[in-house]
């Protein structure tokens, strides 16, 4: 599904290099988790894949189902099936959540050559999806993320995911700022979307999210690349012992 090869990325302004030869393959239908210390480049990787401005790719490639993502505009990547759930979902006052969802969904359908959904079709779809995610109809009427609690914002991200039906979902620290109950709700939403044709890349600092969203593969990222890859047990190991051992094995220290 997703194939990242030797990806090197620096900040557009200045010389700071963030990704230093990142390699990662996520197979179709699998859930991969990426853990790693602060500053390891996890969020940058997710932004670069989604096409956020401000970064320069100096080498490497990132392919979604064989299509080179790095040559595409952010909106084209979305239409191709990539979805990034933001760590900090953006508030957009004055734009209703429904308008936002409908604009996004129809833009993607149009880009893929499908017919746009009528107002009625859309309304039915969004109500069904919201209900299955236990999202209040009232939340749909409010402006995008404005006045939403941390949990509501993350649930809204999952609702967008459910509506847009992407093939490759990246969750950037979706657990940050969530209490235990909110995390359970969000995780249930994600789990409901797991399917044979859909892959997930879950970026997190903590094992506890992975208790809810159980990964097939766990990667440890530091210093701009994947250092170590293992099964679900790797997350438990990190939770217990920290990153020091893994970092040391690669000649890195935690302070870095």
């Amino acid at each position: 599904m997703l194939e990242i090869n030797n990806l090197h990325v620096k900040l557009e302004e200045g010389e700071k290099v963030i990704l230093k030869g990142m390699n990662l393959t996520v197979e179709t239908g699998k859930v991969h988790a990426i853990m790693g210390p602060n500053g390891s480049g996890k969020s940058t990787m997710s932004y670069v894949l989604a096409g956020r401005p401000g970064y320069t790719v100096t080498a490497g490639s990132a392919k979604l189902q064989g299509q080179e993502l790095l040559d595409m505009e952010p909106e084209a990547r979305a239409s191709a099936g990539l979805f990034l759930a933001f760590q900090y979902p953006v508030e957009i006052p004055g734009v209703g959540n429904m308008t936002f969802l409908r604009t996004a969904l129809n833009a993607q359908r149009k880009a893929r050559g499908d017919d746009e959904l009528s107002a009625g079709e859309f309304l039915k779809l969004v109500r069904d999806k919201a209900k299955s995610l236990k999202i209040d109809a009232e939340m749909l009427k409010r402006p995008v993320n404005v006045g939403f609690s941390g949990g509501e914002k993350k649930r809204n991200e999952i609702l967008q995911m459910a509506m847009l039906e992407p093939k490759m979902c990246i969750l950037d620290e979706t657990d940050s700022g969530l209490d235990v109950d909110a995390m359970r709700l969000v995780s249930e939403g994600v789990n409901a979307l797991r399917s044979e044709g859909r892959s997930f890349l879950v970026i997190t600092h903590y094992q506890r999210l992975l208790d809810h969203i159980q990964p097939d593969v766990v990667h440890i990222m530091a210093d701009g690349r994947i250092l170590h890859t293992g099964g679900p047990d790797l997350a438990l190991e990190v939770e217990k012992n920290g990153y020091a051992e893994i970092l040391a094995a690669h000649g890195l220290t935690e302070a870095k």
Binding site: R77, S79, F83, F86, I92, P93, G94, L105, A107
Partner: protein
């Protein structure tokens, strides 16, 4: 001094005033002669060159193609149509509406209108001079005289059609709401090549007045408009203006809150794209609080691109004794490129010690994070920018209380945005 008087005389020479109202017209002519026409050196005209308004004849302005359905077309409303400032009886509805008396200056002037005509304009000349308002009072050829005695059965829509390239209409409307009366007044259309309009609004105790105006879309037109409002106890005055295009638009609002517990809101959203013609939009607002516990809000937003210019001059004056005043003023611009310009002069002048007054002014660009967020969901860049423009305008648009009217205004803005993508 002589030059000033000569300029005024020359400016008036080509104009033919409408019938009647000889007293107030003469008084207005005298006011104008005393103050003269404005120049760039006048404090209130530093950012807006009045030359095109001072010129004896208007610069030609092409009427825009009518390629959109008329605004508020589906709404049950009473239409009063002016074509280049001339009343169009055939296109207008009967001037009969339950709860309302409607007349026209060019037809028959009722006693109440004789008494009101020019008085709010004259009062609004102090402390800031407004020469084009005095000129209007002196020379207006026509105007609608609306006296509301109860809740008006439906909105009244003044529709201004622009056809002639050289039209120079001068209209002067009066709106008087009796105690507890209610009216929604809509104004739509470009009116002429150069439009001078004054509206005097007199709200008695407990009256409720909603004003929604759409200016545009002609690119070459020029307009100078004034709203003078007197707001009595517990009355509500709400005015919203949306402006698209226009070589020059100067909208002045002069609002006198004279009673206690009254509310006055004035808001505007202006969108200009220098690529389709020069754009200068100027909002000049003066709100005076004389009553106790009154609330005023000024919310003005401008979206500017390709060399468009927006200006805002807004003042809140709180008179001695106007305690518990709640005054708010915000003027903001969204610059869609580096070529455009926004100038703002917010002013507060407060002579009471127990008041809450705030003002703010900001200029900014599209929020890159929000733009990326929308694009990451598949919304193409230009469409995403359009959504963010509407987001920016939301506070101003929210000043329209009626959901249906708001929806129509938003749809109009969406059309404009889709036609002005880069």
């Amino acid at each position: 001094m002589a030059a000033k008087e000569e300029m005024v005389a020359a400016r008036l020479a080509g104009l033919t005033a409408g019938p009647g109202l000889s007293g107030p017209r003469a008084a207005a002519r005298a006011r104008l002669a005393a103050m003269g026409l404005p120049g760039r050196r006048d404090e209130y005209w530093r950012w807006t060159d009045p030359a095109a308004l001072n010129a004896v004849t208007p610069a030609p302005a092409t009427a825009a193609a009518e390629d959109e359905a008329p605004l508020f077309d589906a709404l049950d409303r009473l239409k009063i149509v002016f074509v280049d400032g001339v009343f169009d009886a055939a296109a207008s509805d009967d001037l009969a509406l339950s709860g309302v008396e409607i007349a026209r200056i060019a037809d028959k002037i009722p006693g109440w209108a004789e008494a009101l005509y020019g008085t709010l304009e004259a009062a609004g000349q102090d402390p800031v001079k407004r020469p084009f308002a005095a000129l209007n009072t002196a020379q207006a050829t026509d105007g609608v005289l609306i006296r509301v005695t109860a809740a008006a059965a439906k909105p009244i829509n003044l529709i201004y059609v622009h056809k002639s390239e050289l039209s120079d209409p001068i209209l002067h409307h009066l709106v008087q709401l009796e105690p507890g009366a209610e009216l929604t007044l809509l104004e739509t259309g470009p009116a002429g090549a150069r439009f001078n309009k004054v509206m005097e609004v007199d709200l008695a105790a407990g009256a409720r007045f909603h004003h929604i105006r759409a200016q545009g879309p002609d690119s070459e037109r020029r307009a100078v408009t004034h709203v003078f409002a007197r707001v009595a106890e517990k009355a509500l005055f709400k005015s919203f203006t949306v402006t698209v295009n226009g070589a020059l638009t100067r909208n002045e609002a002069v609002i006198d809150i004279i009673g206690n517990d009254a509310v006055a809101h004035v808001a505007g959203a202006a969108l200009g794209d220098g690529a389709t013609g020069a754009f200068l939009h100027d909002d000049t607002v003066f709100v005076t609080h004389a009553g106790l516990r009154c609330e005023s809000r000024q919310v003005f937003k401008k979206v500017l691109k390709h060399g468009a210019i927006g200006t805002f001059q807004g003042k809140i004056l709180v008179k001695p004794g106007a305690q518990k005043t709640d005054g708010y003023q915000i003027s903001q611009s969204l610059l869609l490129d580096d070529d455009s310009q926004f100038l703002a002069k917010p002013e507060l002048e407060i002579y009471a010690d127990d008041v809450k007054c705030s003002h703010g002014s900001t200029t900014g660009a599209i929020d890159e994070t929000a733009l990326f967020y929308l694009r990451s969901r598949g919304v193409p860049e230009e469409e995403a920018k359009g959504l963010l423009v509407l987001s920016f305008l939301a506070d101003a648009i929210d000043e329209i209380e009626d959901a249906g009217l708001k929806e129509e205004i938003v749809a109009r803005l969406e059309t404009w945005l889709s036609r002005h993508r880069d």
